[in-house]
Amino acid sequence: MTNAILEVRDLVRTFGSFNAVDRVSFRVERGEVAGFIGPNGAGKTTTMRIAATLDLPDGGDVFIDGESVVARAREVRRRLGFMPDAYGAYSATTVHDYLDFFARAYGLSREERRETIRRLVDFVQLGDLLEKDTSELSKGMRQRLCLAKTLLHDPDLMILDEPASGLDPRARIELRELVKALAGMGKAILISSHILSELGEMCDSIIVIERGVVLAQGRVDELSRGLRQRTQLLYVKSFGPLEALERALLEEAGVQATNAEEAGLVVRFSGDEQGRAALLARLVTRGVPITEFRSDAVGLEDVFLDVTRGRVQ
């Protein structure tokens, strides 16, 4: 018996001659929070929409709790909650009526509706706004309203497509807390986002997709460890122009790339601890005025850059 709540198997979707998704396969286990990462046009939304039964694949299939999204779309919809990147809210409709409408659509009885709406508005912190018109809500509030709507039928799997897009920093923090709370409730979550640092804090695993092809997948800590074994990230700062430091670094063996950050450079360096010590020694010998030289932690952004190196357009 598999423990995967979401299984994407050899998924193919083409639009004319364009392969939006090309034999994509991955799994999300029960209770797992998986980040779905890739640049615009990589195939994230197409994959998520197929998984949510809103689109049909040209090949392959997606199984939610063992049910095919192609063959048994209605059963699948009862098990998943999908929050699209463009979440709608009716005008001339209050928060309560909006949730009540969808709760009716999911077939909840009057008592169930009352209890569920009360619980969910508390969860998404909209309890004081039940009689407010949805058109008067801020983007962050509307997004929380849509999240509450997505939770009405208590799905086991949540698919959130770019939920942080367009939100201000405060709303992003609130979203992150909500996702963590959902994970704490045992929900499996597949979440896509451009803001990798935030995903890093939320996700147990990631799937990296580019041009419709999965480049890497696995647990965040395993991917980070793998990256650390092959590559180190160093933070180097010098007394002098940044360009001169960059030139000096790129002349050294093992230095793959540099990236300006604050007043220094983040350097991708292939080598172990001894190699790092040797690099510092050579720089000092060459007269580069180093003021700071330290190992930088490997984050989700580094994993993403490593996986997609030379391939992301």
Partner: protein, 492 residues
């Protein structure tokens, strides 16, 4: 769960939204104020003229306001309500909540009809007042209001169908403008017809008047029903089964049409020409339906494959009702055969009283020529555009090409002959012009259809029709094989 839990959620939502919306509130009060003003104005004018106010004239004044409310505002609001599902990005949320397209369209329709009910009740006092005045009888009053209610339902279905078809903002704005014009015209026409009816109330009670009422009621219900089903299919995903519902409904319409034509044929004394006219009308309706089905893309689609019956024989039987252009041609052939067979059977069981007259022979000729031309006009564009039938835009082009092709084959040879020959009545006589082709046959011919087979034009038409049958045959065979393969896969 109590009864209220089973109410269509879309109905409740659309009604709540409409009643809370500014548009309904403003229009409601403006129309009521107008109706009140009309009433006062009419009473003042009638009193000053020295006469007694008459119920029928007063009714028309009030009915003018009611007609615009229920024939214009209600369908218009239904169009906007469904369109807002795309504008407000809520449509996919409805799909995800497992609401079926028919729930969505039915909810919108119910909400619009309840709004119409509100208008009727708001106008109730004025209408009752007009009835209490002299000059208005209950039967005419009831018929006008019943037809008004039915036409409101019909127009709302039309509005929902158009709104479901056009998802792009530009297309919807264009259709909204067209719909606004059409609905305004309809509202005005309803006032004129109501006025005419009130002027000649006895016409309604005559046999022809009764037949006309039933004809209008049947047309509004049947066409409205088709528009409803059409709207439902447009809301489904393009790769889902968007065709079977329409095809089944079309089959039912044809059965109802045969029953209605036969009843009328028997009621008015078995006149062969009348039955032939009904037969030809049936063929035309069948062709209009088929134009949608024969231009569908090939392939069943992954979700439809899973709906194909496991039984080989059931799968074979269901083939004409499953989506796909080839199966659309099979649907047309099957229904054309059934329609003509039913007509022949009817004429055998209840022979026409004037069947041996030259006119009767002529009308049979018209039916055969009509069948040939409608098939040719439909089959040529369907065949030409078949390679691109997976693209929606080109399917629309293929459908538009059918009447355009018919029109061009009437006009182009005539114009060419007129420009490059001396011109004269003979330029109209060409194979593309069915009227001239029918006229060219001897109306007194005997031994129909044997004589017909000796006519070169009949051979030409038959040859073209048969060639098109052969051209479409591989598509039909492919369509049947696809269904059998899907059935086999399901059994496996």
């Amino acid at each position: 769960m109590n009864a209220a839990d089973h109410l269509n959620p879309i109905f409740l939502q659309a009604l709540r939204q409409a009643l809370r919306g500014r548009m309904f509130q403003v229009l409601f009060w403006i129309t009521l104020v107008l109706a009140m003003s009309f009433s006062l104005l009419y009473i003042v004018i009638a009193t000053q003229a020295g006469g007694e106010p008459s119920g029928d004239t007063y009714f028309i004044w009030v009915y003018a306001a009611l007609s615009f409310a229920v024939h214009l505002f209600v369908p218009f609001s239904a169009f906007l309500s469904l369109g807002n599902e795309w504008d407000e990005d809520t449509y996919e949320l409805l799909v995800l909540s497992n609401l079926r397209p028919r729930n969505i369209v039915f909810g919108k329709l119910l909400s619009a009809l309840l709004q119409a009910g509100l208008w009727f009740s708001a106008f109730g006092p004025f209408l009752v007042f007009s009835f209490l005045m002299p000059g208005l009888d209950l039967f005419t009053f009831g018929v006008i209001l019943l037809l008004t209610a039915l036409s409101t339902a019909f127009l709302t279905n039309l509005a929902l169908c158009l709104s479901a078809t056009a998802r792009g903002r530009f297309a919807r704005t264009f259709l909204l403008a067209l719909l606004g014009l059409f609905l305004s015209g309809w509202a005005l026409l309803a006032v004129v017809l109501a006025s005419e009816t009130l002027e000649h109330p006895t016409d309604l009670r005559s046999s022809i008047g009764q037949q006309a009422i039933w004809g209008i009621v049947t047309a509004l219900v049947v066409v409205g029903g088709y528009l409803f089903v059409f709207a439902c299919t447009r809301l489904a995903h393009e790769e889902e089964n968007r065709s079977t519902g329409l095809r089944v409904f079309s089959s039912v319409i044809l059965v109802a049409a045969w029953w209605w034509a036969t009843s009328l044929y028997l009621a008015i004394g078995r006149i062969a020409e009348v039955f032939s006219a009904f037969t030809l009308m049936g063929v035309l309706v069948l062709t209009v339906f088929s134009a949608l089905y024969v231009t569908e893309g090939r392939g069943l689609g992954r979700r439809v494959e899973l709906e194909v019956p496991k039984s080989r024989w059931l799968a074979l039987l269901s083939t004409p009702w499953l989506p796909g252009g080839g199966r659309g041609v099979a649907w047309y052939w099957l229904h054309l055969g059934l329609w003509l067979g039913a007509v022949a059977l009817t004429l055998r069981v209840w022979p026409a009283t004037s069947v041996t007259s030259p006119d009767a022979t002529m009308s049979r000729l018209v039916v055969w020529v009509g069948v040939a031309y409608t098939w040719i006009y439909m089959a040529v564009p369907a065949f030409v555009f078949r390679p691109w039938s997976r693209r929606l835009a080109l399917r629309v082009v293929a459908r538009v090409a059918m009447p355009v092709f018919a029109l061009l084959s009437f006009l182009v040879p005539t114009m060419v002959l007129f420009l490059f020959t001396s011109g004269g009545p003979e330029v109209m006589e060409h194979i593309g012009n069915p009227v001239e082709v029918v006229d060219s046959f001897d109306p007194t011919l005997e031994g129909f259809p044997h004589r017909l087979l000796r006519e070169p034009r009949a051979w030409s038409l038959g040859g073209i029709g048969l060639a098109l049958v052969l051209l479409h045959l591989p598509g039909v065979v492919h369509g049947v094989r696809e269904v059998l393969a899907a059935s086999r896969a399901r059994r496996a």
